[in-house]
Symmetry: C2
């Protein structure tokens, strides 16, 4: 099986698929639109999960688990939500199979039809707020800060590994508050938590902002987003945090007794990131040689490849390798020592480049004699020969440097591809080229629609800003309070 | 809402439900047979997951994720498996809903009928082995040691929180090996890993053994189990490890090239434990005051309750509490300091007893003056007043003692309720009383069936033993090589 990666310049979309598959991140399954997340890909996802989970817990959230299935009628209770979510979804109608009469297989048992169909959750607001009614009676029960790690299903017609799949993994936070202010504060806290995670861990710069009304979550009063720029000039929505107002509390009749003894509806937020982040990670850093991983998310931060002709040489090299490995592990650096004799060093070099291992150490007999080791960086592909002394400190520093360099590189790319448009002509040209385009907008859905139909660009967000920066809408010429971020998007 | 626990002696089943619900472990949802795992229950499950996951990784396993849905036809490929699993399950038949014509809700869109129905996974052998065909070509790809943390659905008609629910959470290991011996070794390694986990972490003694043919996993050549004894004298199957032979490899055509260049079918195992362990945990240790948790699984190992009349007193107590808390946390002991002024100390004492917190510290003004603290154990309900000096060491030792005591207590209970029967009359009497009954069995399914129909007792396992211990079957009088373990079971 050839593991050749199609160059980005040739076919960006194929490049992406090649990396996801050849770097062993994920593959399509026998079930339409559902992916298999392979062990190497899953190990990266586990690192994302661990860090996010830690951040959630540090900010007072707890995990829980709610049912996979949601009765159909629950969706109808919140008017906007039903339009947004209860359409393309997996519907369970029966609960039994039986042997077919011709004895050649199994068929659905028509006698086992459910009275009410069950929807495989596309998101869990409805089942969770149906539960919160029982959990919340008094102000003492608030705030309720719950997160769930789960699989969800949205029946997408056109799917792409990680970016858009029928089933995906995610976390969904669902919080309940006594006041509007607290709920807004939570919404804000979480979008900043996501931004910190994206930037510090994934080395992926993001823009924080609010969604326009058109692009809001179905049932939300306000949706905040983090938007990242991919290498093909398209935006990717990497995480969202929703202020739901009292919509779900009213739909599911969730009230609480205030300190003063009155009954009030509860204020809500919900927020999530998903395995889509894996796609964002791939498209932010990778190159034509394969995946590039920031050290903080790499399952193996360092790989060590011995270069030897015979067992005697291997034994000598191994002695040094095991010392290096243990000194690195002492610094919590994860190390893989690949001494398989079934593959040659050149093959291994290519393999670990493909898989994005941040640092490669190679040791041959000359290194043994000289007390040296060859150190290669995945991000810049630079190699140098270093003395073995204090190699642990040197590698640790290098990993920090790589983490920072990846962020800087992505940030430079974004700056080079971020533009301002002051006329509609200019806007269309820039959007055609790709990248982030900041432009004035009159705030109406009509204008947004026209621009979208003309150019395929959408408002990614209305960025948080304290500057006053008035202008005129590029399309209508009407007054605009600030520039908003446009781009074509995934 | 009263949180009174029904005593075991009055109604064991109600006692169990009361604890699960009042200790905030889980509750029923609006979806038939599906539970909500509440934050406190989920925190215990997370501790189980973390420890098991560590053990799996230490033994060379990696995690991955496979689709939730399985095409119906996959089940028909392994003859025994289809009979066992493709019956009571959730069937997805449609992928879209639409607004109803009367405008009053949403209905299934009949135009969006799937060509082939999808089954919500009851277990993942079929979809995984369909994938392994692509992953395994050569002996170099073996062994393949993969685990998955996932939700699964089995349409149970009679459900009980944790013990038997339509949806539950579990891990399922699926491994592929070059030889029969290696696969058998893996099966054995895992059942011992489960046993160690149950005994060392859950403080729950178990018997390891093989299932009789009748009780084997559908598609397995051999099933190993760990069986625990609950307080009502019933057995609970707490984990299983299956040797699948080449059944799934043959059904899904998974062959590998050997070193010698021949093509062979791959050997398989699968194994799992589920949220059912939560039920086992509750029924092994709890008492009429509520949940009792072994320290290794307690979300809060220590709770500190201040006893004060006014804020001035609280401030003085707090000074000492914060020192104690930090010294305990330095020893990786998890501590909750409950200084809420909305509840009285007596209420808090009852609440943390109900929730099974292993150690409670109470500090009042007299303690502040005397440099003491009241220490209460949940397991024995004993209290003593200790000097504050070295309280961290004292509490750490106490937690070890409690962990050990819980195991010993459960083990004593099991020994008191384990019997040998040498005649069928004696057997029936003992089974009626409840407990584990070791008896000779002739090895036939017919005898097993008759005994089951007569007494509701099943063969829990054929215990691992090196002793030769021949005898005569209690029912047929035929020769028997060893005693097997009978019990009524969950």
């Amino acid at each position: 099986m050839s593991k050749k990666i199609t160059p980005r310049s040739q076919d960006y979309s194929l490049w992406y698929n090649d990396i996801v598959q050849h770097a062993d991140l994920a593959e399509n399954s026998g079930v339409r639109g559902c992916m298999v997340i392979k062990p190497y890909g899953y190990a990266i996802w586990e690192k994302m999960q661990a860090e996010l989970d830690k951040k959630f817990k540090q900010t007072g959230h707890v995990n829980a688990y709610f049912p996979l299935f949601i009765p159909k009628s629950y969706f109808s209770k919140e008017a906007d939500h039903v339009d947004g979510f209860a359409k393309e979804c997996a519907v369970v109608t029966h609960y039994r199979l039986k042997n077919s009469e011709d004895g050649k297989g199994i068929v659905v048992d028509e006698a086992a039809k459910l009275e009410e169909e069950l929807i495989v959750r596309p998101t869990s607001e409805t089942i969770i707020w149906d539960t919160y009614r029982k959990w919340i009676q008094s102000y003492r029960d608030l705030p309720l800060l719950v997160n769930q790690w789960a699989n969800v299903v949205r029946w997408e017609m056109r799917t792409r590994l990680f970016l858009r799949t029928a089933e995906f993994l995610w976390q969904e936070g669902h919080t309940a508050h006594a006041t509007k202010e607290e709920a807004l504060e939570e919404t804000d806290k979480i979008i900043n938590l996501y931004s910190d995670f994206a930037q510090d861990f994934m080395a992926m710069p993001v823009v924080i902002g609010a969604k326009s009304e058109n692009e809001r979550f179905a049932g939300a009063l306000e949706t905040y987003t983090i938007e990242a720029l991919m290498q093909d000039g398209k935006a990717l929505q990497a995480g969202t945090s929703h202020f739901l107002g009292q919509n779900f509390a009213k739909a599911f009749d969730v009230k609480f007794a205030t300190k003063e003894g009155t009954q009030e509806y509860v204020w809500a937020t919900s927020w999530g990131v998903s395995t889509r982040l894996m796609g964002a990670l791939v498209m932010t850093h990778s190159d034509d040689k394969g995946l590039v991983l920031p050290p903080k998310l790499a399952p193996h931060q360092v790989v060590i490849v011995p270069i030897y002709r015979n067992n005697e040489q291997l034994e000598k090299i191994k002695e040094i390798v095991l010392e290096i490995k243990s000194s690195l592990e002492h610094r919590n650096i994860s190390v893989k020592f690949d001494d398989r004799d079934t593959h040659k060093p050149g093959w291994k070099f290519a393999e670990y480049e493909l898989k994005g291992v941040p640092v490669r150490l190679a040791i041959g007999m000359r290194d043994v004699e000289n007390g040296t080791v060859e150190v290669a960086r995945r991000d810049t592909l630079e190699k140098e020969t270093l003395k073995v002394e204090n190699i642990d400190v040197k590698v640790e520093n290098l990993l920090h440097k790589i983490q920072k360099n990846l962020f800087d590189k992505a940030n430079d790319f974004r700056e080079e591809n971020t533009f301002k448009a002051d006329s509609y002509e200019e806007f269309k040209e820039l959007i055609e080229k790709g990248g982030f385009v900041y432009a004035h907008w009159d705030g109406t859905s009509e204008t947004e629609e026209i621009i979208k139909n003309d150019t395929k660009a959408t408002i990614r967000c209305i960025p948080e800003t304290s500057e006053i920066n008035e202008g005129k809408c590029i399309l209508s010429g009407k007054k605009s309070k600030q520039r908003v971020l446009f781009a074509k998007a995934y």
